[in-house]
């Protein structure tokens, strides 16, 4: 329902994925193309810039650096959803299942973090151990990877925690030897979950859209602030005034009323006068 009121590219998604084989299906689905051959990490983006994807390579340091790099290179807005997806070892679940991560333990310092998770999901939720070395002793462990904790630590510094999601496909375990993993079956493991991944994408796109709708300033704000010079503090005032004008439903003739204003001060004064004569009509909301 919310989607109808937005243009297609109004949401913002950033993907941080370790391996090309894990990312390929996403790159293909969103028709992403490589931005540059020479950047520190390969970055892909779709035609309208709503989806960006970075290949971090393996390991915590790579994951943290790539997340920050993508943030800066893509100029990610505040309403961006951040997704990490990849394969993981697991001592408990079923081979090939896509799981949702709701607890991360960093094996190097035992620090724990608790990512918020996609709501009302049918995906199995699991704990993730991020380690610097491959682990083949799966005993009593849930998911095991080499990037998750670093991705989450960095992403939670640049985005709301609720806009971050970690998803792992079980690729090896007590009955599935890690040595049997190759490019082809890694790619197949992700592909076989595309339907679930699409549900994940829809969820985070919607979340991002909703955030944008609230965070972004109203169109009238930009129309006015482009015409006169406003100080930072006046811009805050203007934002609040425009939102109130929209609430009162009196935005129609505003531009006409402002046409003779000489400066930002007089704009604010005219807007204030307009609002003064209005009272909140509670039945309307």
């Amino acid at each position: 329902m919310i989607k109808d009121t937005f243009k297609e590219n109004d949401f913002s998604i950033r993907w941080v994925i370790a391996l090309k084989e894990e990312a390929q299906i996403i790159i293909t689905q969103f028709k992403m193309s490589l931005l540059s051959q020479t950047s520190v990490f390969p970055i892909f983006k779709n035609f309208d810039g709503s989806h960006w994807l970075i290949l971090s390579g393996i390991g915590r340091h790579n994951a943290a650096a790539a997340t920050l790099y993508l943030y800066e290179k893509s100029n990610a807005p505040r309403w961006t959803s951040w997704i990490n997806i990849g394969i993981a070892g697991c001592g408990k679940g079923n081979y090939g299942d896509l799981c949702l991560v709701d607890k991360i333990i960093n094996n190097s310092n035992s620090e724990k973090t608790y990512p918020d998770t996609m709501k009302r999901s049918i995906l199995t939720r699991m704990e993730l151990l991020t380690t610097d070395f491959p682990i083949t002793d799966y005993n009593s462990k849930e998911l095991i990877d080499m990037e998750g904790s670093a991705f989450y630590d960095m992403a939670s510094k640049i985005a709301s925690r609720e806009l971050i999601g970690l998803f792992k496909v079980i690729s090896d375990g007590p009955s599935n030897d890690i040595k049997k993993l190759n490019k082809s079956n890694i790619s197949d493991l992700i592909k076989s979950n595309i339907s679930n991944i699409n549900t994940v994408i829809s969820y985070y796109e919607l979340l991002s859209l909703r955030e944008k709708k609230i965070i972004n300033k109203p169109e009238l704000f930009f129309e006015i602030s482009n015409q006169w010079h406003f100080t930072v503090s006046q811009k805050h005032q203007l934002d609040s005034l425009v939102r109130r004008i929209n609430t009162f439903g009196i935005n129609k003739d505003i531009k006409c009323l402002l046409k003779d204003c000489k400066n930002s001060k007089s704009v604010i004064s005219v807007l204030n006068k307009q609002i003064e004569s209005h009272e909140v009509e509670w039945g309307r909301f």
């Binding site: 724990k112 709501k119 939102r243 009272e279 909140v280 009509e281």
Partner: protein, 334 residues
Amino acid sequence: MGKVLIETIYIEKKIKDHPRTKSILSKFKKARYIEIDRYGEVFNKRNQNFRIQKSNPALILAHKNDGFVLPAPEGFGIGASKNYYFSHMYNCIYDCRYCFLQGMYSSANYVVFVNFEDFDNEIQKIIKLNYNTKITFFSGYDCDSLALENVTGFAKHIIPLFKKHSEVDIEFRTKSIQINPFSSITPQENFIIAYSLMPDLISKSLDNKTPSILKRINAMSLLASKGWKIGLRFDPLIHGKNWKCLYEELIDIVFKSIPRESIHSVSFGPLRFPKQMFKDIFKLYPDEPLFSGPLSRNKGIVSYNNEIEEEMTFFCQTLTAKYINESQIFKCLA
């Protein structure tokens, strides 16, 4: 209260075997349980988004270490010389747009402290210390005192303590129609079950996920018929078109539904936010009609201007004074 949907329950290790923890968990068998060391690991962390969390909050079961009972803020009271409050829970299942809790924490998850007995001990200490002083305790300052009663059972737990100490008053402030803890016991003179009220038209817009005003009035009426003392809390007073008619209508309905002798007290509270808290709440809901009202900043507080505040309080107090004694009417300034 409808069924509270909880998908995730975080449980502090320290209380994972506490009987109350087990009892609460038994009510959410389908939820995912995640063990944590301290509730601060998941509650009120940097970069949490209150608004998104509010759409589907998790439950956190924790142990409270200190600050069980605190002096109520100045201006918060109903006539006693000393006022204290306690909160067995942080955050609320309701989503009222004027509520300070929106600006208090960056997290909307519910924290429930299961060590109720520590609250009992602290309350008893304060009663002992204030022997011969008229004191009132308020339950539900950082939460609604009854809204999650089906899950926590806190009111049911604390009632016997205040039955024993009839020399002090206890107010349960709520919007909930969950009256079970009171319907099965004899009414106590020192108990006040206080309901937050505002005109239905305004409540429909601002009191999200709460029982309607009519349902609250019915609950009050039922409690009154059983002999319980009722507190009427017109707090906050909300300005808008036809506010006089709306409040007149509300006060009229309330006093037609509740016998005068059942009313313990009435209080009126203006809409007020500390400046920073207002900023935080405004950021969460910038298009909220409430913030389009005639609010102004004065001495670090965002509120309706003095003239409006005074006019609204005077108008409502005058109407109320037709029904009850003026000594039962209070202005809440906290």
